[in-house]
Symmetry: C2
Subunit: 362 residues, 2 copies
């Protein structure tokens, strides 16, 4: 505990001291605007999927869909402070994630026509009940805010605190359309340094289109039960960025049912398959290299087979170098770091938009 306080102290700058006598009022974030969702989740509003209704999915997939990755709370307030109180189900520490990204909060403010970061909610190690002053000394005018939720933890509750005399209200969602992206840990957000820096979050801010994060770390394996869940979702486009998780054999076996199910239940809606990049470890680890090549090969073969069979509105984005060519875009040899995510957004963004535009999604 002493170490922890020490660590925190090292990173504070003097102006950030928290006045003890200040009055705040809290609102439950459920009464504000929750973006990034596409279905009701009665068990917990911060889940991404109703895992009771879709109980046939594998246990790991269901658990991961209870994580609040890609969700954000939007509101406007004239408060000079934004504080949060939140509770996560667990307090584990991941080796390759910052606690801020894993189970913290990431606040953006809308300024001069752009969403810019305004502060983070930093978890305290070992605690599930968290509280943090995220922004302060903000000009006392009405501002719009967007607060990204934890990437790798289930959020049990969230309250937003503002100056006691300030107003705080829901706002219309800043994003339009629904582009559902299903995939692996890379999509899910490993290893962004904070939750606003995943590539779907970046794409949503830069295009104003709602990219829905259905990343399930290590488990984007295209099970039939997941396809059967996705068939109920009214999306304007589906993107499959799951190639890193299934084995080459699973790709060959599962892609037809997965794509055909989406095709059948969502006629006329584009389905975009994304080839993943060569994981950086592959440049030194021969087995990783081989596995990545075989996954790519199987994924592309399935795409070509489905095209040959006449599946309409099916697309493939090929990009083995989506995180760049200087080898510095990964944290751990598998997942992008923030540099990698920036590059992915820049690479995928225009290619996705070119396809989406044909369908009026722009």
């Amino acid at each position: 505990m002493k170490r922890k306080i020490l660590f925190i102290a090292l990173f504070l700058i003097p102006v950030m001291a928290w006045p003890a006598n200040e009055e705040l009022k809290y609102v439950d974030a459920q009464h504000l605007t929750l973006v990034g969702k596409v279905m009701p989740t009665p068990a917990n509003v911060y889940h991404r999927v109703d895992t009771v209704k879709y109980g046939n999915m594998p246990g790991a997939v269901k658990r991961l869909f209870t994580y609040s990755a890609g969700l954000a709370v939007c509101f406007k307030t004239n408060s000079t402070n934004v504080t949060a109180r939140w509770v996560t189900r667990n307090k584990g520490v991941m080796g390759n994630m910052t606690p801020i990204a894993q189970r913290g909060l990431d606040l953006y403010i809308y300024t001069d026509g752009q969403w810019i970061p305004a502060g983070v909610g930093t978890p305290i190690a070992g605690k599930m009940h968290l509280e943090c002053r995220i922004a302060q000394h903000v000009k006392p005018e009405e501002h719009q805010f967007m607060l990204y939720l934890p990437l790798f933890e289930e959020l049990l509750s969230l309250e937003i605190g503002v100056d006691s005399a300030a107003t705080i209200e829901a706002i219309p969602s800043p994003f339009r359309h629904t582009v559902l992206v299903y995939g692996s840990s890379i999509l899910h957000g490993a290893c962004a340094s904070r939750s606003g820096l995943t590539y779907p979050a970046r794409l949503s801010r830069s295009t104003d289109i709602n990219f829905i994060n259905y990343g399930v770390s290590g488990n984007g394996k295209m099970e039939a039960s997941v396809a059967d869940m996705l068939k109920d979702i009214e999306a304007d486009a589906f993107v499959l960025d799951c190639m890193p998780n299934p084995s080459p054999e699973e790709i060959t076996e599962r892609t037809p049912y997965f794509v055909n199910t989406l095709r059948k239940y969502h006629p006329g809606v584009p389905i975009i398959m994304i080839e993943s990049y060569m994981r950086e470890k592959g440049y030194s680890d021969q087995q990783v290299y081989d596995r990545c090549r075989r996954q790519s090969q199987a994924f592309i073969e399935q795409y070509e087979l489905l095209k040959k069979q006449g599946v309409p509105d099916l697309y493939l984005i090929r990009d083995q170098q989506a995180i760049g060519t200087d080898h510095e875009g990964s944290l751990d040899g598998v997942h992008p770091n923030d540099v990698g995510f920036e590059r992915m957004a820049k690479q995928y963004g225009p290619q996705l938009m070119e396809i989406l535009k044909k369908y009026g999604i722009e």
Copy 2:
């Protein structure tokens, strides 16, 4: 503990299973090549400064100089595996750092004329005695490796494990000259995602010049006792990137002694002052904005005053936007993320090299 194993499992890909019957031999990293140091540290070879000899420095500064930031172990081996066993003094968790960067390891391999990442050593939460397979399935040929050490922890011991039949040997340092950079947490490495991605580490790899990391998080306050330590160091250049830590008043008060001491004891050696960037929080937090402006003003005034007084070989790099203009180069509104560090290296690199070249440092 169960959660931890779960988290780790989520991030593993099947090929990375560790064969139980494999034989390894370990060598103490002290017998290999340690780069990033400029003085002997009898208490612990992985300290940056002999904090017994320079006992007058403030306690926090001394403690931070025991952290192995910027140090790396270089060696060559024909092993197909690289494993590490290491011990850190503490096991604290920082909210804005990955455990990999804080007290883990970051391995590079020299391939096709370039250092590229080959894997990371991931700490297990709650454990000080750590062990990790960092790279495997490497082609069984001789390769050069560079292993970056923890940024925010004291390293007590480190052993490198290789195939029992392989050779492992020290190599000459890959870097030449000595450019000592003194500064704040930003220099120290907060919030790089791994220790090879701090800006001095990036500059060293891209220029082959030894940029020494004397960052002391939150404590780069230009105390006289630190100047008195630096006067003993035989560097080819000194860079001061400490502006974010002292108050504007401390900058005004301390810069003359700090610079004049370096000037007196290192005649003819360039001293380069770097103006820090506007911390991102400053774009929403009015107090942070004001403080940053006043720090800049005080730092530049001191530079101009010293120039007017005729201090030779003194330079200033002005750059309020070193982490970019899109506001996404910071993790927590203060420290760069990997995007910010990439941009800093690109911004500072050419400006530093232009000055250093005049002194034959190239």
